[in-house]
């Protein structure tokens, strides 16, 4: 479903991704953990080309994301790919001038030409799923962080993506609001959505992941099933990180 092949990325002199390889199969959940600055967010953002990469290949099913096209051609290519990739951000990035309903229906109506009635019906179902049906006509500013993030998830799901990318989606939330967002992500896991999740929450990682990757300094240090990697890591670097986190 998602394949990353030998990807390199540099910011000036700073090499943030040094030959990353990974694969996520359909319906599987990959969780990426690691200290800040390890390149995990950059990697996730590279998958839908919010970051360019300097070398290597990124594939979504049978389509390469980082094709060597230019200008309008690339723009068309990437917009099409992005419609299949839902992304949720640390800081929600809801559209503040639109209601919850408008946030969720805008993209399908604009890009898929879904009639308003159908788009709103679909949005209601999604808002039901994230437990926010009573907030349809609210503006983002009237919502709590946890509610905003659940709207952001619904907004991404409205395009019916094949893969969901979660970039530290609970890091900006008050502790008591994290649970409600995690609950929604678990629901998606039960529906066998393919997901890549960058997170700092080891307990959540242990619960949902099929596979966990530990990244540090731009490389994948260790990779494995959550039980093994989180409780009995082979690498010293991983052990140090986990000891720090669980302290």
């Amino acid at each position: 479903m998602v394949r990353v092949v030998n990807v390199f990325k540099r910011f000036g002199d700073n090499e943030v991704l040094k030959g990353i390889n990974l694969e996520v199969l359909r319906g599987k959940i990959l969780v990426i953990i690691g200290p800040s600055g390890s390149g995990k967010s950059t990697l996730l953002r590279a998958i839908n080309h919010l970051e360019t990469v300097d070398d290597g290949e990124i594939w979504i099913e049978k389509v390469q994301v980082n094709l060597a096209l230019t200008g309008r051609k690339f723009e068309k290519h990437i917009n099409k790919i992005r419609q299949n990739l839902g992304m949720v951000f640390q800081h929600f990035n809801l559209f503040p001038h639109m209601t919850v309903m408008e946030n969720v229906t805008m993209a399908p109506m604009l890009l898929k030409k879904t009639p308003r009635k159908d788009a709103e019906e679909a949005a209601r179902r999604l808002l039901e799923k994230v437990d926010l049906i009573e907030k349809v006509n609210f503006y983002p500013a009237q919502l709590s962080g946890g509610q905003k993030q659940r709207v952001a998830i619904a907004r991404a799901l409205a395009m019916e993506p094949k893969v969901m990318l979660f970039d530290e989606v609970t890091s900006a939330l008050d502790p008591e609001l994290i649970g409600e967002v995690n609950k929604v992500m678990k629901k998606l896991a039960e529906e066998h959505m393919t997901m890549l999740i960058v997170t700092h929450e080891m307990r959540f990682a242990a619960e949902v992941a099929d596979e966990v990757i530990f990244m540090a300094d731009g490389v994948i240090v260790e990779q494995g099933p959550p039980d093994k990697l989180l409780h009995d890591p082979a690498e010293e670097r991983t052990q140090r990180f986990l000891a720090e986190v669980f302290k």
């Binding site: 990035n93 809801l94 001038h97 907004r155």
Partner: protein, 219 residues
């Protein structure tokens, strides 16, 4: 003939009202023009295309750096020389409209730049193109940010519309001048015209406040 005698106003009041009507039409058209033309100018001035950006910058710079009166003269007296004849009214709307479109573009540009990068990213990650992102996500927010500054531009436009009397648009200031040449009562009629401008501006300001309140972005 000495002292202030406001009774002369009564007879000429319809004339002033007639002038007010033209001022209103002139300003409504110029305001609409300046807002509508301001958006593409603002977007072009921060375009990724270097040529488009430079040309726009140059255009903005020319219109910001030269007097409105001169621009009006160029349009009304200059253009006929190359075969373009425009009525006083059209010249006025064009002159005021372009001049303030440039100021509005400046303001709008700061608004567009002020929208957080996360908004671009969220929109692009849904699959919207750059242009769609601008139209649906960035510009609506930018305009809300800069609504107060745009408002002061529009109030300035209304006041500067009096300049257009010089190219014979029969608006309020020219109406006052005609009344004066009939009556030799400059003091009364300029005060009257001033009062009318003030009242119109007051209503414009009220209207702008309401728009601002309605579109204010809670964050």
């Amino acid at each position: 003939m000495t002292g202030l005698d406001l009774s002369v106003l009564v007879e000429y009041f319809p004339m002033l009202l007639w002038g007010l009507m033209w001022t209103t039409i002139l300003c409504a058209c110029s305001i609409a023009f300046s807002l509508v033309a301001g958006v593409p100018l603002a977007v072009a001035s921060i375009s990724r295309n270097r040529w488009l950006r430079s040309i726009t910058e140059f255009f903005l710079w020319i219109f910001r750096g030269t007097p409105l009166l001169l621009q009006l003269f160029l349009i009304y007296f200059g253009l006929p020389q190359i075969g373009i004849y425009l009525s006083p009214m059209v010249s006025g709307v064009l002159g005021l409209g372009i001049h303030y479109a440039v100021y509005n573009a400046d303001v709008m540009r700061t608004g567009i730049v002020a929208v957080e990068s996360g908004q671009h990213e969220a929109s692009r990650s849904l699959g919207l193109s750059r242009a769609q992102t601008m139209r649906k996500v960035i510009i609506p927010q930018a305009l809300r940010y800069v609504a107060p500054a745009l408002g002061s531009n529009l109030i300035a436009l209304l006041k500067e519309s009096s300049l257009v009397s010089i190219i014979t648009v029969p608006e309020l200031t020219l109406a006052a001048q005609r009344a004066i040449s009939d009556t030799f009562r400059p003091f009364e009629f300029y005060i009257a015209a001033g009062a009318i401008y003030y009242v119109v501006n007051y209503f414009l300001e009220m209207g702008l406040k309401r728009v601002e309140m309605k579109t204010a972005l809670a964050r």
